[in-house]
Amino acid sequence: METYQIYSLASAVLFVVGLAGIFAARHFFKKIIATKIMGGGVFLCFVSFAERDALAFADPVPHAMVITGIVVAVSAAAFALALSRRIQQLTGQESFPVDE
Amino acid sequence: MEAFFITVCLFLLLNICLGLVRVWRGPTVADRLLTTQLFGTTGMAVLIILAGYLGELTLLNVAITFNVLAILLVICLVQVWKSGAKGGEA
């Protein structure tokens, strides 16, 4: 098994784990972390394929996209965290209300 | 020599796995943070070894980045949780 195959398989599993987390977790905080894990899976997928296409150096285009993606993902996570804190401050809720 | 470096890396990674027990058990936030610090140090050691054995010296820059940021989380915990935290873990 090649190096990139190990990591690309792990990336698929990570993505699904994150997706399951978004559905299953109740707390806002955990949902945000689940999206971060999903994002980690996507980035791992990109970088592992960049390693597959390596000649003298690994494919730089996915690397650049992942770096951009990391910064965008962290901005989004910061916004989501701020929203959830605000919701908690205003309503005391820490998770979505359950439909009866 | 290569096999030796890989063994050392594996050993350090298994060490991290062992330390995870403390992250899980806590009981205080400070305990968990300490263990994370240990992971950071172990990660630096793994990066230095990888830099040596792959011949990729730029990996040292990753270790430096980890290194200078290691103190940030501790200072944040100490300063932010200083007074009036709403409870939870002591």
């Binding site: - | 062992l18 027990v21 230095i48 290691a70 501790v74 939870g88």
Partner: protein, 102 residues
């Protein structure tokens, strides 16, 4: 094996020993203050020995300088963070009502 390699192997094995000792201490010691003691051994000596061993192996002055900086910063960061965490924890010593939080 060349002498340099033997030195590297010995230093790395010694470094690993300190990392293992630090982790075991982290797991086995009863409270935070003891664990701090165990941890700083791993931080200072474990990383220091491994860094020294790899500096011998890489044998490039620029890399050796970087490794030296990594070790010095770690020394500084780990000793001060040890102090800060200990002080922080003492200031928050759990009251009897909170002691059963976990």
């Amino acid at each position: 094996m060349t002498p340099a390699e033997i030195v590297t192997v010995m230093l790395l094995v010694a470094g690993c020993f300190f990392f293992l000792a630090g982790t075991l201490g982290l797991l086995r010691f009863p409270d935070l203050f003891c664990r701090l003691h165990a941890l700083t051994k791993a931080d200072n000596l474990g990383l220091g020995l491994i860094a020294l061993g790899m500096a011998v192996h890489i044998a490039s002055p620029w890399a050796a300088l970087k490794i030296l900086f990594i070790w010095l910063f770690t020394l500084m960061a780990s000793s001060t963070s040890c102090y800060l965490i200990a002080k922080f924890q003492r200031g928050r010593a759990p009251k009897p009502s909170e002691a059963s939080a976990e």
